[in-house]
Assembly symmetry: none
DNA sequence: TCCTAAGCGAGACGGTACGTCCAGTCTTCGT
DNA sequence: ACGAAGACTGGACGTACCGTCTCGCTTAGGA
């Protein structure tokens, strides 16, 4: 007896991978060139050399497109392992702040936060992507510190994320200031002292 | 010789105060009803029963209008004075979180953050308004605590604002979770310990 | 054991000459349902259960398809032979007018004239089809009348067609009125008198 | 006592006469350049230098626009008065045929007939415009001929229109042939004989 | 009491982008 | 090799807003 087909075998011409790639690239390029808000679906399609129908077949609006496009850019948060809690936290905050600092991604991020604030689907996607990744990194750092006896066990990683990442977000988003190393070190120092044994 | 004009004495029919009021009200109402992004200048003018020219004579775009309209709503952050640093901070955070919680202002705030992220003029207005007010409240609290000897003098109020308000912002904006009293108390406790003498 | 598929049998190759039939039927049906202009190639293909490529392999546009589809409908103009010129003409005009009157073909005909007016290929096809047939019928009638001595020999059949069929066309196309028997009789009477010996 | 306002005083900015003129001109020009069917609303608006909204505010589709635009072109059918019925008819038919012949209006006319065949509103407009004018011309000619005793009184002008204009229409629309003077003279001769006293 | 300037609501203006639909072509899978 | 399914680019559709510009009409202060 032959194995049963999984399900829903696609019929007709399959979707072009090239079109996806071109759309992602066009979206990123346009956001950098003219800013998130000035980007239009029409402009993306044209820049990508893709018909509007093809674009709309994939993305109902520009937000999901941008989320997907950004996925390839800010996917990785390297989990540091310096041997000490303080070293790990400082390095994690710093690598995050560098992302904020990068003029290339700067506008993308603020635009993305804007989109999250208004669109629940975007918000969910980001939460399950970058945000979850960050929190997991924090969880590992805390777990190792606990294993070394630097910290009590069971400290809430989500709460630690709020404490460490919140100040950076505030400075970036509300103040519009640079999130430099001096700032991340001060945040790390104060919060680490606050959550110490 | 004729009397010198003081300055730019207005000529012609003065601007209607009613129109301003109606525009503010219409903007707020529409944001609550259909969301910040779906609000259009056209819609505001119609809802306010005001000509579009009248609207554009006052506001170049919807952001300044919304900022002004919101000014009347989130003007006051009462500066608590409980006699202890901890009490003051807990009360300040709590009153802030209540604003986040209020379903009435919730959408307004996220929409405003969205606007800040994309529009420098809005960002400036908000920074010089609500944000500055909050930081001043923090400054007073810290000063009183220092005067009581609870805290060292000269602690950076802006930095304290990042530490206290940042986690709330993160939770509100990124997680989309309720900013309840338990959360504000935990933030207050950790950060106070971190900045303690 | 191979189970027999009840429904949703995947339609593959066995459809060759059925496709033509289905396309004709779909075209006719759609013209009646939604009108000539609202008919699209896409709609015809879908209604016929035929791929668009299959459709385009047969017809470059909807006009040739419609012409071919209509061929089966308005193929025959019976050449009357009543024994007198007047009888023949009256019968020919009447049978033509009945075609105009038929609510089923009415829209098809006006749509076809519309297509002729704009598309030379359609025009040629119709001229070599229905129009030529009609003129030949007229030629036979005139020839028999001449043989009977009712009419001079060599009367131009094309011109007679203009004289007899033109008024019907005008009434049908321009006035949008019914082309009833009273009308065809009056036309026959006047024109016959005009071309009499 | 002051006179009452008539009615419905217009409010807001009045519609621009320039836009109307530009739209008419653009429609005519485009039909001549690329043919009736290839003309799009978008193209008309662009050629006229007019916003699409302005165009759609005036015309729901291109047919009414074309009808209106053509109104200015084929308004006049000069009613001939040569002193004899034959002279009048020959002149009327000839001036009509010249309109058919004019390469400028040729496409317009066939496109218009196409539109009539499919759109009742267009058909009505044309019937009450050009068609009615032509029939009235015919009526005057017949009346003068009757007054001169050349013809019996009360001959149906509409029917005469069918007889005279129908053959021209058929030749123009179905055959696609030139409607030259020889043809119009032959038609005039036969039909006049057919309706003679 | 008029005059003049700037206000007012209404709505048309030239534009841009929207999201949908269809044209005509191309690609994959299954028969 | 053919046929269905459905992807592809391209472009018009008709709508909604943008920000500007007339309209006819207040509404004030100054002459």
């Amino acid at each position: 007896m032959t194995r049963q087909r999984i399900v829903n075998r696609p019929r007709g011409r399959p979707r072009s991978q090239d079109a996806d790639t071109a759309l992602h690239a066009a979206a990123i390029a346009l956001i950098r060139d003219i800013g998130y808000d000035a980007v239009t679906m029409e402009g993306i399609a044209e820049r990508a050399g893709v018909g509007k129908a093809t674009l709309y077949r994939r993305f109902a609006s520009k937000e999901p497109l941008v989320v997907e496009a950004l996925g390839g850019i800010m996917r990785k948060v390297p989990v540091p392992d310096t041997g000490t809690l303080g070293g790990d936290v400082r390095r994690l905050l710093r690598s995050t702040s560098i992302m904020y600092e990068d003029p290339a991604t700067r506008h993308l991020l603020s635009g993305l936060v804007a989109a999250m604030a208004r669109n629940e689907a975007i918000a969910r996607a980001v939460r399950h992507g970058f945000v979850a990744t960050w929190r997991d990194a924090m969880r590992q750092i805390l777990a190792r510190a606990a294993a070394r006896g630097e910290l009590r066990r069971g400290l809430d990683a989500a709460f630690a994320t709020h404490l460490f990442a919140g100040p950076l977000l505030y400075r970036f988003l509300i103040d519009g200031d640079r999130v430099d190393e001096r700032f991340t070190r001060r945040v790390a120092a104060v919060v680490l002292r606050g959550i110490a044994l």
